[in-house]
């Protein structure tokens, strides 16, 4: 129908007495069918728009290959430096002009998490344009000591990859000296649309109340297949409010008491903390921290699925092992995990990962409270 926008506007003024209609509850089956058809219709709608040139990405091409990329976490530490002031991104970018406005790529998709984590994410969906580059902050999650941010980037030309840094402000205060891990990859064959997720370790982030968050993206760089790099000047600024209360309410914790040694360093595992977004084992390392080792906790759950937690963070004596979802989510049905520590010494003159893993402790079992 042509110009139906007039009709939906006019329908604000239509009165209808719903008391005239007997209430008709939907069965679960009907709801499921409606949800499924809605998703199909949405994809069809996006496909039609792509065909008509209104957007340049086909929704149905997304989400299939990204998990492989998303599971390979690249740990990096941010350098906080002085940068030249350049023109700021437009705070509000007209949706009609935007290539990214129609695109959605949730934080769950970007992280390769199969279960529905949308209830714990703050949907932001702000698009900012600068230098012809569109950045969309799609959603954010606050968990203990962690802020996860998911971005889409529409580049000005096809690129092999991209990278950007950022500044974070919580309740108006700039966060300093934080570490982060990130994943990034193209979401379609055009290589002009990329998804990037950053998991930023922020020790004292409030997980109960509302947090005003400002994110300023900067230092964007394109990478090309011939190993060349192009820097894009500019900043892209986002502001929103988020809360981690829902995820906190759905977080469970199991105390652990298990020790193992690597050379003279004692590793003590103290807590398994899990929720729909993150599954982490916390511990301490005492003695000289064996920073030149990769450490995994490997084993199986009671359903027979292989499980790996990798050492993702070392901060002073504090250790954090994170569940690797490369083979899928940690099942909701499990009642126990049986793990053993493995370590591999990193080469001293190269960052290349070692393949000489050794078991460095006995198996132990974590029983999850029902």
């Amino acid at each position: 129908m042509k110009h139906t926008e007039n009709i939906y506007e006019l329908l604000n003024d239509m009165s209808i007495d719903l008391g005239d209609y007997p209430k008709e509850e939907l069965s679960e089956l009907e709801k499921q069918r409606l949800k499924k058809t809605f998703r199909i219709n949405m994809k069809k709608s996006l496909k039609d728009k792509a065909r008509d040139g209104l957007i340049n990405v086909k929704e149905q091409e997304k989400g299939r290959d990204f998990k492989k990329i998303g599971a390979i976490a690249l740990a990096m530490f941010l350098s906080i430096g002085i940068f030249a002031q350049t023109s700021w991104g437009k705070a509000v970018y007209a949706a009609t002009e935007s290539k990214l406005a129609e695109l959605s790529y949730t934080i769950g998709e970007a992280l390769g998490i199969e279960r529905n984590i949308a209830p714990y994410a703050q949907v932001v969906n702000q698009v900012v344009e600068n230098q012809g580059v569109e950045m969309k902050l799609t959603d954010a999650i606050i968990d203990r000591e962690e802020l996860i941010l998911s971005f889409l980037t529409s580049t000005t030309k096809p690129v092999q990859g991209l990278h950007f840094d950022y500044d974070i402000y919580l309740n108006g205060k700039k966060v300093k000296n934080y570490s982060a891990s990130g994943t990034s990859g193209p979401i379609d064959a055009t290589h002009t649309n990329f998804s990037t997720v950053y998991s930023i370790d922020i020790d004292d982030i409030d997980t109960i109340g509302e947090v005003k968050i400002k994110v300023v993206l900067k230092d964007l760089a394109y990478y090309f297949s011939n190993a060349t790099k192009e820097k894009i000047k500019g900043k892209w600024e986002f502001e929103f409010v988020a809360s981690g209360s829902e995820l906190t309410a759905n977080t469970r914790s199991q105390a652990l008491a298990y020790d193992f040694y690597i050379e003279d360093t004692k590793y003590s595992l103290q807590e398994f903390r899990y929720n729909p977004v993150n599954q982490k084992i916390y511990g301490k390392a005492q003695g000289s921290v064996a920073a030149s080792y990769e450490v995994d906790l490997r084993g199986w759950d009671d359903l027979g699925n292989e499980v790996v937690f990798y050492l993702a963070r070392v901060s002073g004596e504090d250790l954090t092992f994170v569940y690797s979802n490369i083979d899928g989510d940690l099942s909701n049905e499990i009642t126990s995990l049986t793990l053993a520590p493995y370590a591999a010494r990193l080469p001293e003159h190269s960052g290349k990962a070692s393949d000489s893993w050794e078991k460095v402790g006995e198996e132990f079992t974590i029983y999850l409270a029902p």
């Binding site: 329908l11 209430k23 709801k31 209830p119």
Partner: protein, 180 residues
């Protein structure tokens, strides 16, 4: 984040599909009730019409104005409009099909007659209190799939005049209970 009665509209505007699931849980009964009533004689179209309404709510949430109507009434109005439009399209397609086939089964004839009668009654109920000119605009806008540009050309009225007529018509329609 948790979707609640307070934030579901804002979240839909942000593109959060969880918010649409909230609508499905709390407001889809309106779609079902209204569509079931107005498409009672065309049950095979009811599910398609519901899907159509959900998509319409999703794509047009920016057009919902809480100061002018409650969300549930807006949803009900969309359902009624869509259902009646489905009847109109069914009658139009049946007419074309009958012209091509030249053979009209008796049962189809009777269904079409009843539907046509009901359709006219619903339409008349909606339009009856409007002045003739405004009625013509609404008829063209809603049922003849014309946009304002086309209506302006066919009536010789300028767009501002059309908007004014529509605005005045809407006020009258709002006064009607149980209909548009």
């Amino acid at each position: 984040m948790k979707i609640t009665e307070e934030n579901f509209i804002a979240q839909m505007k942000l593109g959060n599909q969880e918010a649409l699931e909230y609508v499905l849980e709390h407001y889809a009964w309106i779609l079902k009730a209204v569509i079931k009533r107005h498409l009672a004689r065309l049950p095979h179209l009811q599910e398609e019409c519901m899907n159509d309404c959900l998509l319409a709510i999703w794509h047009n949430i920016d057009r919902f104005d809480p100061e002018r109507n409650s969300f549930k009434n807006w949803v009900g109005a969309i359902a009624k409009y869509k259902a009646i439009d489905y009847v109109r399209k069914y009658l139009k397609e049946s007419e074309m099909s009958n012209l091509e086939d030249q053979v009209i089964p008796v049962e189809d004839q009777s269904l079409q007659t009843v539907l046509a009668k009901e359709f006219q009654e619903e339409l008349a109920r909606m339009l009856k209190s409007l002045p003739e000119e405004t009625r013509a605009i609404f008829r063209q806008l809603f049922w003849e799939e014309k946009d304002l540009q086309e209506i302006a050309q066919s009536t010789g009225l300028s767009k501002p005049v059309l908007y004014n007529r529509i605005s005045r018509g809407k006020k009258k329609l709002k006064a009607l209970r149980g209909g548009y």
